[in-house]
């Protein structure tokens, strides 16, 4: 029986990873749920969020709140970028075959990653943890970094905020309606195209925010876009594409399976996660909390 301190530390690290993933995957899932578009470039938005945050931290320099302004600024910048992409480009593909949308978002990954390379080069960049969260506290015999604690709380907070937005506001009702029947919603006089843009902007905001917030815990390097999109996909596949709580659940399961999987299969850490995904796909192809696709 392993030491309980260790088990606690292990589950905590799994939860932290889960909250980061939830930030990214929730935006991906939201966009799919409403627009029906599988946005491969979501990972690119996340990467750009990290790069823009880095740039803003450089510009703001010694400002004690530099990191927080940078994170917010990066999320907003990516939201604007997402809005432009949806308005100017993606919009023209809604009527076309799904394949075109996939190709388009895939092309976007390549374009954005090269663009990032032109601007920021290929070097590894790093943002320091914000000074007020640089320390760590000993909880049950294990050191818990404050920044991780912050992320642990932020995840559920965003989830709750999201839920309130979707279920307690007028706009949220429209969003849910659009996910179910967009023609009917349009016929009822709602500006569906503006709604789509708003959802895409919100999803991109979350991606940018996720990128900015993960930067203090990771190196910012080319390639982080593709890396995250794979993980985010696993999360939404497990949880159910388009399902909000499913994404949350998927992220939590992913984190725990990865954390404890390495104890069982030390040399195949990623194996347990993929195995889980395969099982979910066989038993419930629509994910744990997803809805079967209407045909």
């Amino acid at each position: 029986m392993p030491d309980p301190t260790f088990l606690f530390a292990q589950s905590l690290s799994g939860l932290t990873a889960a909250m980061f993933l939830f930030l990214i995957a929730s935006g991906l899932s939201l966009i799919f749920g409403v627009l029906g578009v599988l946005n491969f470039a979501h990972g690119s938005f996340y990467m750009l969020g990290a790069y823009v945050a880095y740039q803003l931290v450089q510009v703001l320099g010694r400002d004690p709140a530099a990191f927080w302004w940078a994170a917010l600024g990066a999320a907003c910048a990516i939201a604007v970028l997402g809005g432009l992409v949806e308005r100017l480009l993606l919009r023209h593909l809604y009527a076309k075959d799904v394949l075109y949308q996939l190709l388009f978002t895939y092309a976007l990954i390549l374009v954005l990653s090269d663009a990032a390379k032109v601007v920021w080069g290929t070097g590894q960049l790093s943002i320091a943890r914000p000074p007020e969260l640089a320390g760590a506290t000993r909880v049950l015999g294990t050191l818990v970094p404050h920044y991780e604690l912050f992320v642990l709380l932020l995840g559920p907070a965003i989830a709750l905020g999201f839920w309130l937005l979707l279920h307690r506001t007028r706009a949220g009702r429209f969003v849910r309606a659009a996910a179910l029947d967009r023609e009917m919603l349009g016929a009822l006089g709602v500006n569906v195209s503006r709604l789509y843009t708003s959802v895409f902007v919100l999803g991109s905001f979350l991606a940018g925010l996720g990128g900015a917030l993960i930067a203090p815990a990771k190196a910012i390097v080319p390639g982080m876009d593709v890396e995250i999109i794979v993980e985010a996909f696993i999360v939404v596949v497990i949880g159910g594409l388009g399902s909000f709580w499913g994404t949350f659940l998927g992220a939590v399961i992913y984190g725990q399976v990865l954390s404890f999987g390495i104890l069982i299969f030390p040399r195949f850490s990623i194996f347990s996660v993929f195995a889980l995904m395969a099982v979910v796909l066989i038993l419930r192809p629509w994910g744990l909390l997803g809805r079967p696709l209407k045909t």
């Binding site: 392993p2 030491d3 260790f6 530390a9 292990q10 690290s13 799994g14 932290t16 990873a17 090269d114 390379k117 080069g121 290929t122 070097g123 590894q124 960049l125 790093s126 320091a128 943890r129 640089a134 320390g135 760590a136 294990t142 050191l143 970094p145 920044y147 991780e148 203090p216 815990a217 990771k218 190196a219 390097v221 080319p222 390639g223 982080m224 890396e227 995250i228 993980e231 990865l258 954390s259 404890f260 390495i262 104890l263 030390p266 040399r267 850490s269 990623i270």
Partner: protein
């Protein structure tokens, strides 16, 4: 009509006939350069290209080699062995390159080596470390390496750790060729030279792991005194950022040594104040190497000018040395004939910015050591440096 055509063609024909000898003498020597120039590996591929470009520019300014200029033909290998093979073939068959210098990863190197063998083109690998490249069954007359090998790197580190007086050692490495090979070399060598040590834990995250915390926790639970790691380059930035706040480095009293150039100026610069200062690492080059051979100061100054960077890259030196070897061999062979140049490279010694270096005849491997040291803060720089910096000569334990 035909006659007129003939009249026009005649002088051209005469020119063509008279031309070749003179033109040939002027024709540059073409060197194909497959290297990852896009994607994450471009982080090393870009400065590697710069090192070769610096050498070529300087050599051509001095009139080239044997009266001929060198021409570098860089191609993006995308860090992918299939792509590296494709561009190498294209360089040989379509561009008629005389030599190949390049590749970065341990997957690309051996793949391109096969192409070099098929086409009898001399190939010098500046960076791939896998022992496979020059292993007995893979060695052929045209492949050479100026990088360190996994054996040399793992053993160099074992020599250092043996002096620490630690008993319980853990390892953490990526689960793929480089990580496995260098870790095995380290473990075998330290057990041999320090029989009392015990390997208490081995963690194997996947290459490019984004979240090391579960591995870090699991390792700390085994309470090692010291850790050997081969989480390299940019991956180490992520690893250290997650390990430091968990108290990982404190728990092992900074008895942490990393293969894979984690103390390269690029990495310490990227992390700035967040670098876990006090750990040990290595690098191919360091612009702040005070005790270096005189040629190194000069090289660093030229590279800094070329890159417009006061703290120039540590990766450029590898391709610079590869090009030095190639040029010296061409001079010695008196031409660009592949077989003659390959023979000339055997046992060839040259003066590099890091001192004298030799390509051994028996395994085509240069006695390339690396710089090792404990990282410290130095008021002169806003990032960690290694001090004292020791060049570990691998000659004693290459076999």
């Amino acid at each position: 009509m035909q006659r007129r055509m003939f009249l026009i063609l005649l002088p051209l024909l005469a020119l063509a006939l008279a031309g070749p000898p003179a033109a040939l003498a002027q024709k540059p020597i073409r060197v194909g350069f497959p290297m990852p120039l896009s994607g994450p590996a471009a982080l090393y591929g870009d400065p590697a290209l710069k090192g070769a470009q610096l050498f070529v520019e300087e050599l051509n300014a001095k009139g080239g080699v044997l009266g001929r200029k060198l021409e570098l033909l860089p191609r993006d290998s995308k860090a992918n062995p299939d792509e590296a093979v494709r561009v190498s073939r294209e360089l040989i068959l379509k561009e008629n390159v005389d030599f190949l210098v390049g590749t970065l990863t341990s997957a690309e190197g051996p793949a391109v080596s096969v192409v070099a063998k098929e086409n009898k083109v001399v190939f010098i690998a500046p960076i791939p470390k896998t022992d496979q490249l020059t292993a007995k069954d893979k060695l052929h007359p045209y492949v050479f390496r100026v990088a360190a090998t996994t054996t040399m790197e793992g053993r160099s580190i074992a020599e250092i750790v043996a002096k620490w007086g630690v008993k319980r050692i853990a390892t953490i490495s990526f689960d793929y060729a480089y990580g496995q090979d260098v870790t095995r070399a380290f473990v075998e060598h330290i057990k041999k030279i320090k029989p009392g040590v015990e390997i208490v834990d081995q963690q194997w995250p996947k290459l490019g792991e984004a979240d090391y915390r579960p591995f870090i926790n699991a390792q700390m639970a085994k309470k090692p005194d010291a850790v050997f790691s081969s989480i390299w380059g940019g991956h180490f930035v992520t690893f250290a950022k997650q390990a430091k706040p968990l108290g990982y480095f404190d728990a092992i009293k900074y008895n942490f040594i990393g293969a894979g150039e984690i103390a390269a100026p690029e990495t310490t610069k990227a992390m700035g104040a967040e670098y876990p200062v006090g750990i040990w690492g290595n690098t191919y080059d360091a612009f702040y190497w005070d005790a270096a051979p005189a040629a190194h100061h000069d090289y660093t100054a030229r590279l800094a000018r070329f890159l417009k960077d006061d703290a120039p890259s540590s990766w450029s030196i590898q391709t610079y040395i590869a090009m030095q070897f190639l040029t010296a061999a061409i001079t010695k062979a008196g031409g660009t004939d592949g077989d003659k140049v390959a023979k000339a490279l055997l046992g060839l010694s040259i003066d590099t910015p890091h001192g004298k270096m030799t390509i051994r005849a028996k395994d085509h491997q240069a006695d390339r050591g690396q710089l090792y040291g404990k990282t410290v803060k130095d008021p002169k720089y806003p990032f960690a440096i290694m001090k004292p910096l020791t060049y570990v000569d691998p000659a004693k334990f290459m076999d």
